[in-house]
């Protein structure tokens, strides 16, 4: 897959959609996130990488309002949302696919989609919207299946479809391809690119460098809760220190 081609197809504006300023989260004496500054521009496809425990998921949770930051603030489209409730953030256009699938396992695929969709779409158009999103993920045939019976990959796609139903302008994907086989990973990569092309800014976390290479335009490396490096994928891969602390470990 030609990564250069996909990158050039996107329009990245200079306006930043999300800004983290000196964001920190302390659990007792442990600094899970320690003063991170980050700026995501509108239309970007940005990846956060870093070893386990670097604080990536914690940052996601602070962006969504699941955790309250110990210090610092979060700006979304220029507005300070640090004190906003999580549902208010969702209404503003922030959406997430969590690391451990945040789907409703006991319910059917349709019911999952309905929960995500009905808040943001008129009831009359809801079924149409659900069908559209399920088609996009290629899981329409599973509409009446109970989610717990789905494969891990199918659950991940379902959750992406659900987060899309919230009509996000910024989509956070926490390890979207985790636990997928090569075929499925490929499908997911295409999907992410497609969504980005449609104008959704995407910030994602992943460990699989092949996957990151396929889709990320910009990469931020976190280490011990701090920003370690930032740049294009080739810049990062040529950074010796990054290779040492992270990529080297494979």
């Amino acid at each position: 897959m030609d990564t250069v081609l996909t990158r050039s197809a996107n329009k990245v504006s200079v306006k930043s959609i999300l800004e983290l300023k000196n964001l920190g989260k302390y659990f007792g004496g442990i600094r899970a996130v320690d003063g991170v500054d980050l700026s995501i521009r509108e239309g970007e496809l940005h990846c956060l990488i870093g070893p386990n425990g670097a604080g990536k998921s914690t940052i996601f949770k602070m962006i969504m309002g699941v955790y309250e930051p110990s210090v610092g603030s979060v700006y979304f489209e220029g507005k300070d949302i640090t004190k906003k409730k999580n549902w208010e953030r969702a209404d503003m256009g922030l959406s997430i696919k969590m690391q451990i699938p945040g789907v409703f396992g006991e319910l059917s695929v349709y019911d999952n989609m309905r929960i995500a969709t009905q808040k943001h779409t008129k009831l009359a158009k809801m079924d149409e919207e659900i069908t559209k999103l399920l088609d996009l993920m290629d899981v329409r045939h599973l509409k009446n299946e109970i989610v717990n019976n789905l494969s891990h990959g199918q659950q991940q796609w379902l959750e992406i479809a659900m987060s899309l139903a919230c009509k996000p302008r910024l989509l956070l994907l926490d390890e979207p391809a985790a636990g997928m086989g090569p075929e499925e990973t490929e499908f997911t990569a295409q999907l992410v690119r497609k969504l980005n092309k449609e104008g959704i800014t995407i910030l994602f976390i992943d460990h699989d460098m092949d996957f990151v290479r396929q889709i990320a335009q910009k990469v931020t490396v976190l280490h011990f809760g701090q920003k370690f490096a930032e740049g294009t994928i080739s810049e990062i891969e040529s950074n010796e220190e990054v290779v040492q602390i992270y990529l080297g470990n494979g």
Binding site: M64, V66, K85, N86, W87, A90, D91, S95, I96, M98, G102, V103, F104, G105, E106, L107, S108, Y110, D111, R114, I115, A116, Q118, K119, H120, L123, H141, L142, K143, N144, E145, N148, N149, L150, S151, H152, G153, Q154, Q155, M162, A165, C166, G179, M180, G181, E184
Partner: protein, 352 residues
Amino acid sequence: MNTSKIKLNTENIVGIVMFIGLFVYPLFVSSYQVLNLSYFLSMVFLSMSLALIWGFCGIFSFGQAAFFGIGGYFYAILTMNIGISAFTPVGLIVGVLVGAAIAWVLGYFMFYGGVNDVFVGLITLCLTVVLETFMGQTAGSEWKIGEIGLGGFNGIDGIPTISFGSFMLTGINFYYFILFILLVVYVGLRYLGISKFGYTAIAIRENRERTKLFGYNVPKYQTTIFAIGGGLASLSGILYATWGSYITPSSFGLTAATLPVVLVAAAGRKNITASVIFTIAYYWFSQSLSASGSEYALVILGLGLVLVILFVPEGIVVALFKWIDQLVFSRIRKKPTIKLKEKEKVHGHSIN
């Protein structure tokens, strides 16, 4: 799946048959049995209120008995002070609203403060016992609201029946009145299950934190559902108070607080029809045992509950529904699980 159509399944058939049965029941039995069933039906609202908040929305509450008692006492004090029978329907409505309002305030206090899960159960349990303790000691003549003494442990007697003008709701009229409200509430709750609001409640039950991230103001929904539940429990209390012309603090007791939980859990908490059926069956069964004078009544009831929870943890009525569904309807409808197995092979990533 089209959720807005009534599906042909055991639950719906049983629901319809049950209501037809309840409508024609008085034609075949004595006036005593009608009166008796009126009592069971009044208690059904209490179970439904818990099935709503717990079964639908995942709010575990021991406090439905508190709202039940509040409704009964409020209705008694209000209508007896005013003393005009034409006022009783207003008392009924205001009583339900007051129950809902108090539940709303309590819900606001809990859900916006981040109290959830088993802690809601504990806080409501304490509150219920506080009410019992308090009302139990109001035997003294200084405890009066208006003209009506609270009566302590003996409770309040001579609570007026509901009447529309000169039309008194006694005997068979009372029965059909309750049945009518029951039908309305039942259909309402069943509809709720497929409504936008109901889906939100289900989402909150399944995963509260995740639901927030889809843009739902979860505490608001929880508070609203809790208030509706409080209103329903209050309705139950009022109907009970008019049935026996009587309400006492024991309706707030530890036993009264736990019984709805036990009934709804044993029936299958996610299913309204199940709690309706099981509540009626339980009251009928326990009354028959009591009437037999058998000292083994409570042992048999306790044993039944333990067996149910051990062997059919999803609830006995729900399990029965599923069983009959499988037995009868699986031959009519094709099984979707077969399709899944094929798909799983393609992706090769089954989680089990």
